[in-house]
């Protein structure tokens, strides 16, 4: 495989534009770029970043970019607008990523009853909160939920506008450092598995099968590399993001990077679809299986594809 890649690299490299957010959970994109895996596979890839991986998924509509990396919900929303937006791989599993953080006045989950909690509506934050209610058998009527954007959670907690919030990293870690007495009340481990998918534009992928395959190959190699050499990967991600290695090193171990497609992939898509449907935000019906384009992964690493039927 490596030799084939090298041979092809002799020809003019295929150009691709891909985009994602700035968050260590998208590490395979960064590592593939920084470690030169893309170029070794004969690809000239421009990696753009935006405020979140999900925000960039939208640019797959109409093929403004060729690939993106982001959460389930964004993929479903985009697929509803343009069914060319498909998942080619499931790349990230966030095990201890989202937490409920309480202020000094809230020592544990039980004490949260009757208090105010900040949720970022329409994001993983809300998905997690709903799952937590179900898992812990809580009564939603006992809590006053207010909508707060992730970056403002800490300020709102500090000011006492909210008594707790549910949000993803790095905010929980930050809040504990910044607000006296703040602590994690609950993490998503065992309650819900958050995933990030690699998306491509199906039209483009069908027209450029060769480049697409080499692209997926690069990601698989990058994920393997992260597992094999975590220290070097942290350094590369920190360099790409221009963030302190200490911070990146703290966050990356909370994430599992394995390029695959599994029943879990389908299940997460189904949850997202249900959630969007429930909120009335889905413009047309979407089937989980339609959203997946497994051919590329099957070609590159057949063993990693286990969709169950």
């Amino acid at each position: 495989l490596l030799a084939a890649g090298a041979a092809r690299a002799q020809q003019a490299p295929a150009k691709m534009t891909i985009a994602t957010g700035v968050d260590p959970s998208f590490a395979p994109f960064y590592v593939a770029k920084e470690a030169g895996i893309f170029s070794r596979n004969g690809l000239d890839v421009q990696v753009n970043t935006g405020p979140s991986g999900s925000a960039m998924v939208a640019f797959l509509i109409g093929n403004q970019i060729n690939a993106a990396y982001g959460a389930e919900q964004a993929g479903v929303s985009a697929h509803a607008v343009d069914d060319n937006v498909v998942v080619v791989a499931d790349g990230t599993e966030l095990k201890r990523w989202i937490s409920i953080v309480g202020s000094a006045a809230v020592p544990d989950l039980a004490a949260l009853k009757g208090k105010t909690i900040g949720i970022a509506r329409g994001t993983g934050s809300e998905t997690f909160w709903l799952a937590a209610i179900k898992a812990k058998g809580l009564d939603p009527a006992d809590y006053r939920v207010v909508n707060v954007e992730a970056p403002e959670m800490v300020a709102a907690l500090e000011r006492g506008n909210i008594d707790a919030f549910a949000v993803w990293e790095p905010w929980p870690t930050r809040a504990i450092g910044a607000v006296k007495g703040a602590k994690v009340l609950l993490t998503n481990e065992g309650i819900i598995n958050v995933r990030n998918f690699v998306y491509m534009n199906r039209g483009w992928a069908t027209k450029n099968p060769d480049a697409s395959r080499r692209f997926v190959t690069s990601l698989v190699e990058a994920a393997d590399r992260i597992k094999a050499d975590p220290g070097a990967s942290v350094a590369m991600v920190a360099k790409f993001l221009k963030q302190p290695p200490a911070l990146v090193g703290e966050l990356m171990p909370k994430v599992d990077y394995t390029m695959n497609l599994s029943g879990g992939t389908l299940a997460n898509i189904a949850v997202a679809i249900d959630h969007l449907k429930g909120a009335g935000k889905l413009t047309k019906p979407v089937q989980p299986a339609e959203m997946i384009m497994p051919e590329l992964m099957r070609e590159v690493r057949p063993a990693a594809v286990a969709l169950g039927n």
Binding site: A58, I61, N147, P151, N161
Partner: protein, 268 residues
């Protein structure tokens, strides 16, 4: 905007007729805007992210039917008006001080000339620290983007006052406060009003950043939600609403000026 009369207007044209043709031309302008949009959307771009006007209209009617559009509009409008009013009021006062009191200007200018380049979006966190996640932080952000434009235009207005008008007032025995009330204020009025009209656009556009702060309703919130869920039609409904609200607010403002402040011969 009163356009330059390059040649004298025939006096025979009645005011009525000119109002009518004016309205017709404005309508024609809008019609062409929407036709162009339609053509661009359908023939030129052909992207799912750029819907044609009729689809947006249909979605708008839908949202209007279920009442949510009106709710969002009225909530946002309230915030915009509050922020605009506070920002304009502060801007006029500071602008006059800057324009009329040289030492104050020297000391205050670093504030205004520095702060006006700092985007409201970046101040959201600071606003929450100071004002919490309630209404006041949203209104603060809108006032913030309004105030500097009003300051600059007001100060420019004060600086451009005909020298002899100030001199005459001082010779008539005007004290500082009287000079302000009887000369500076009326003479700078056209500039202040132009400044407010320009600032109005900032008030409207900043609602989007402001409603990023823990908002449960409003056009900005609607926009962010629609973005999050990729409800392209909703995004355009919100944009069109902002455009029309702004346009109407501006017309209302102009009308009020012509009705009540005509003697200060505002230029617009």
């Amino acid at each position: 905007m009163a356009t330059l009369a390059l040649r004298a207007a025939p006096a025979a044209v009645s005011a009525w007729r000119s109002t009518l043709t004016g309205a017709a031309a404005t309508l024609a302008g809008f019609a062409s805007l929407f036709v162009l949009w339609h053509l661009a959307s359908v023939y030129l771009v052909g992207s799912a992210l750029f819907p044609p006007p009729l689809r947006v209209l249909a979605r708008g009617i839908e949202l209007a039917r279920d009442g949510s559009l009106l709710d969002n509009v009225s909530v946002s409008l309230g915030r915009i008006l509050a922020g605009f009013a506070i920002g304009s009021a502060c801007g006029v006062v500071i602008g006059f001080v800057l324009g009329a009191v040289a030492p104050a200007r020297r000391v205050l200018e670093p504030y205004t000339e520095f702060l006006r380049f700092i985007p409201a979006t970046a101040l959201i966190t600071v606003a929450v620290i100071w004002f919490g996640i309630g209404e006041s932080s949203k209104i603060f952000l809108i006032a913030y983007t309004t105030v500097f434009i009003v300051i600059i235009n007001t100060a420019a207005g004060v600086a451009s006052i005909n020298r002899n008008k100030v001199r005459a007032a001082l010779c008539l025995g005007a004290t500082r406060p009287q000079l302000f009330v009887h000369v500076l204020l009326p003479a700078a009025t056209p500039y202040v009003l132009t400044g407010m009209r320009i600032a109005m656009a900032n008030s409207f556009t900043t609602i989007v950043a402001a409603e990023l702060v823990a908002a449960n309703d409003g056009l900005g919130k609607m926009l962010w939600d629609a973005r999050l869920f990729m409800l392209v039609d909703d995004i355009f409904v919100a944009l069109i609403c902002l455009g029309f609200l702004g346009f109407s607010a501006d017309r209302l403002f102009r009308w009020a000026i012509l009705r009540f402040a005509r003697r200060f011969s505002p230029v617009m």
